[in-house]
C-alpha cells in the first residue's frame, strides 16, 4: 500500500512536472520567434516607423483622396462592413479633435476638423501585447506589433487596452464583405481581432508598405527610426511632428507632420 502510494505520487509528480515543464520550455523557445531567418532582399530595420505628412495629404489629396486606405484594405482583404458598429478598419481618417483629443485646443483653429490618417501606432511599449493572454498579439524585434489570427481566442482584452481604437473584432464572418479577394493574403474568420501589420508580408518580399507605395504625393514615409540617415529621421529633424496621446507612455511609432 505504502509503496504503491509513493510510486503513484512520484509518477503523478513527474506528470505534473511534464505538464508545467512543456509550456516553460515553450516560453524559452518562443523568445526567438522574431528571429526567424529573413528572406534575402527583405527590408529590415531596428525600429520601423511611419511619418505621415498631413500637409502634403491635405494640399494634394484635398481630403477626398483615399488611395492609401483602399490599397491597404485591398491588399489585406479587409472587409467592407456597412454596419458601423462592426466595421473592420486598418487605416482610416478621424478629425483632428478626435485623433488628438487631449491636444484638441492647443494648436489652434488651423488643424481643427482636418482629417488625420489613423492606424495602429506599433507602439514601442504596446498595452495590447501586455494584456493578451495567449500571445496572439506580440511585438517583433523590429517593432512591428503582430497578430496571430490562429492563436487569438477573441477575448477582446487587447481592444480594451489599446488607447488608440486601432483594433477591430470580426463580429461576423468577414468573407462575404470582401469585394475582391487578394489570394496572396489570408482572409480572416469570425471571432478574431485584427489590425494593421505594417505590411510585414510586403517587407519580407522587399517592398514598402502598401499605403506608402500607393500615395502619389509621397505623404507617407516609411523607414528605420534607429538609422540616423533614414528619410524618417530627416523629416523628424527638420519638421514639426506630433504623435497621438504621448502622455500615455506607449511611445507610438507613427509621426504626423503638421507644420
Amino acid at each position: 500500500m505504502e509503496i504503491s502510494r509513493r510510486t503513484f505520487l512520484k509518477l503523478s509528480g513527474l506528470g505534473l512536472l511534464g505538464l508545467l515543464g512543456a509550456p516553460v520550455i515553450d516560453v524559452l523557445a518562443k523568445t526567438d520567434r522574431a528571429r526567424v531567418a529573413r528572406a534575402p532582399g527583405a527590408l529590415t530595420a531596428k525600429r520601423w516607423a511611419l511619418v505621415v505628412d498631413m500637409r502634403k495629404c491635405w494640399e494634394n489629396g484635398k481630403g477626398t483622396c483615399r488611395d492609401c486606405i483602399l490599397a491597404c484594405h485591398r491588399e489585406h482583404n479587409v472587409p467592407d462592413i456597412p454596419e458601423e458598429k462592426e466595421q473592420v478598419r486598418w487605416i482610416w481618417t478621424e478629425p483632428y479633435e478626435n485623433a488628438f483629443p487631449e491636444q484638441g485646443h492647443q494648436i489652434g483653429a488651423a488643424l481643427s476638423g482636418k482629417p488625420f490618417l489613423v492606424l495602429c501606432n506599433h507602439c514601442s511599449d504596446p498595452p495590447c501585447v501586455r494584456v493578451c493572454p495567449t500571445r496572439a498579439t506580440f511585438k517583433r524585434e523590429d517593432g512591428i506589433v503582430m497578430m496571430d489570427y490562429h492563436r487569438c481566442i477573441g477575448c477582446r482584452y487587447c481592444m480594451a487596452a489599446c488607447p488608440y481604437g486601432a483594433r477591430s473584432f470580426n463580429f461576423t464572418d468577414p468573407r462575404p464583405f470582401i469585394n475582391s479577394v487578394n489570394p496572396a493574403y489570408p482572409t480572416r474568420e469570425r471571432g478574431v481581432v485584427e489590425k494593421c501589420n505594417f505590411c510585414e508580408e510586403r517587407l519580407a518580399a522587399g517592398s514598402p508598405p502598401a499605403c506608402a507605395a500607393a500615395c502619389r504625393y509621397g505623404a507617407l514615409v516609411f523607414g528605420d527610426l534607429e538609422d540616423p540617415g533614414s528619410a524618417v529621421r530627416e523629416i523628424l529633424r527638420t519638421r514639426y511632428t506630433i504623435r497621438r496621446k504621448p502622455e500615455l507612455g506607449t511611445r507610438p511609432n507613427i509621426y504626423y507632420v503638421v507644420g
Binding site: 458598429k85 494584456v131 500571445r135 487569438c152 477575448c155 481581432v193
Partner: protein
C-alpha cells in the same frame, strides 16, 4: 452525498425544472451565437465588452465575499457563523462557475480557450485571473465538501482542511483584486485607470455577497427546516452595513476627484455620460441613478438599528443592496469604461434579447448548482439534527483554535 440533491418536494422539483428551462433557453441562444458569432449581441467595435463581462466582474465579487462568513468564524471564532460557513463556500463555488461560464460565452473563439493554458502568459492579468479563479473554485469545493462530510459523520473536519481554509482567506481577496487589475492597469481607459478600483471592488463585494447570504438564509428558513439563527443574520447585516457605506464612500471619493478637478483623465467624460448623459445619449443614466437611490435607501435602513433588526426591512435592504451594486458594477462600470471611445465619440450599448437570454441561462446554471449544493448541506444538517435549533447549532463543527 450527491443523492441528497435528487430527492425533494414538488416545489423543489418545480424550481429545478424552471431553472432547467431557463438554461435550455440560454443554451439555444448560445448555439445561435456559436453559429452566427458575437454579432447577435449588442457589443461593438467601441463597446467591446458588455453584459457578459459585467456579470463576470460582479460575480467574482460575490464569490470573494464568501470570505465574510468564513473569516469571522475561523479567525475570530464567531461561533454564530458555524452553521452557515458551508453555505458561503457553496455560494462561492456557484459564483465562480458562473464567472468561468461568462468568460467562455464572451469569447469569439471558445474552442481555443485552452490557448490560455497552452501558452501561459505571465504578463497578462487575464492569465492570472484564470489561475486564481480556478484555484479558488477548487479550494471552496474541497473545503465545503469536507466540512460537510465531517459534519455528517459528526467528527471535526481533518486538520488539512483548516489549513486550506486559512489559504482560502487571502485567496478570496486575491480573486477580486486581480479582477480589478484587469481594468485598473489599462492606459487610456480613464474611468478604470484608478488605484482605488480594487478597494472599491472589495467593499462593494463585501456588501453584495453577504446581502445575498442573508436572502438565502431567509429562503432556506421558509422552504426548509434550516434556520441560520438570528445572531448570525444580525452579524451579517452589520457586515453589509459597514461594507455598503464604505463602498458608497469610495464611489464618492472618485466622483469628487473627477468632478472637482475637472481633469478628463480622471474619468470625467464617462461620469458625465453615466450620470447626466452626453450629446443626447444616456442609456445608462436611469441605471446609475437607480443604483444610487437603492444604495441610499439600503444604507438608511441598515444604519438604523430598528429597521436593520426588523426582518421585513432587513430583507428589503439586502435586496436593494444587491441590486444597487449589481447595477453599478455589473453594468455601469464595465460599459461606462468604454464610453466615450478613444476618439471621444459616444457609441451606446444595449444588450440584445439573445444576449440577455444567454446571461439568464448562465445565472440559472449557477442557481441550479447553488440549489443542489444547499439541498445537500441542508439534508446533512437535518440528518445530524443541526438544522432547526439555533442554540445548539453553533457547535456543529467548532473551530479548533479557541483564540
Amino acid at each position: 452525498m450527491i443523492e441528497k440533491a435528487l430527492t425533494g418536494s414538488k416545489r423543489y422539483w418545480g424550481w429545478v425544472i424552471l431553472l432547467l428551462a431557463l438554461m435550455g433557453a440560454g443554451l439555444g441562444c448560445y448555439l445561435l451565437q456559436l453559429s452566427r458569432g458575437l454579432t447577435i449581441t449588442g457589443m461593438s467595435r467601441d463597446v467591446s465588452w458588455g453584459l457578459y463581462i459585467g456579470q463576470f466582474t460582479f460575480l467574482v465579487g460575490v464569490a470573494a465575499s464568501a470570505v465574510m462568513v468564513v473569516l469571522p468564524y475561523y479567525l475570530h471564532n464567531v461561533r454564530e457563523f458555524g452553521r452557515i460557513t458551508v453555505f458561503g463556500e457553496f455560494l462561492a463555488v456557484a459564483a465562480v462557475i458562473m464567472c468561468l461560464l461568462f468568460v467562455i460565452v464572451d469569447l469569439g473563439k471558445p474552442m481555443r480557450v485552452f490557448n490560455m493554458i497552452l501558452y501561459p502568459t505571465p504578463n497578462s492579468i487575464l492569465f492570472w485571473d484564470m489561475v486564481v479563479l480556478t484555484g479558488y473554485l477548487l479550494l471552496n469545493l474541497v473545503i465545503g465538501w469536507n466540512v460537510l462530510e465531517a459534519e455528517r459523520n459528526e467528527v471535526p473536519p481533518p486538520r488539512w482542511v483548516k489549513t486550506l481554509v486559512y489559504v482560502s482567506i487571502p485567496w478570496a481577496i486575491s480573486i477580486h483584486t486581480v479582477t480589478a487589475f484587469l481594468y485598473a492597469g489599462l492606459p487610456g481607459r480613464h474611468y478604470w485607470l484608478n488605484p482605488l478600483l480594487a478597494a472599491r471592488f472589495l467593499a462593494s463585494a463585501f456588501a453584495s455577497g453577504p446581502a445575498l447570504v442573508i436572502i438565502l438564509a431567509f429562503v432556506m428558513r421558509k422552504f426548509s427546516s434550516f434556520d441560520a439563527g438570528r445572531e448570525a443574520i444580525g452579524k451579517l447585516a452589520l457586515i453589509v452595513t459597514y461594507a455598503l457605506t464604505t463602498s458608497m464612500f469610495f464611489l464618492g471619493l472618485e466622483l469628487f476627484t473627477a468632478l472637482y478637478s475637472r481633469v478628463p483623465g480622471h474619468g470625467l467624460p464617462t461620469i458625465e455620460y453615466l450620470f447626466t448623459g452626453k450629446d443626447g445619449t444616456g442609456n445608462l443614466v436611469p441605471v446609475m441613478w437607480a443604483s444610487v437611490a437603492l444604495g441610499l435607501v439600503a444604507a438608511y435602513l441598515l444604519i438604523n438599528p430598528a429597521t436593520r433588526r426588523r426582518e421585513s426591512t432587513l430583507l428589503f435592504a439586502c435586496a436593494a443592496t444587491f441590486v444597487s451594486i449589481w447595477l453599478e458594477k455589473g453594468i455601469g462600470l464595465v460599459i461606462g469604461g468604454f464610453i466615450p471611445n478613444p476618439f471621444e465619440k459616444i457609441t451606446e450599448y444595449a444588450p440584445t434579447m439573445p444576449e440577455i437570454l444567454i446571461t439568464v441561462g448562465v445565472w440559472a446554471t449557477g442557481l441550479l448548482i447553488l440549489t443542489g449544493l444547499c439541498k445537500i448541506a441542508i439534508s446533512v444538517k437535518q440528518a445530524t439534527g443541526h438544522a432547526a435549533s439555533p442554540s445548539c447549532g453553533a457547535s456543529a463543527s467548532p473551530p479548533q483554535n479557541s483564540a
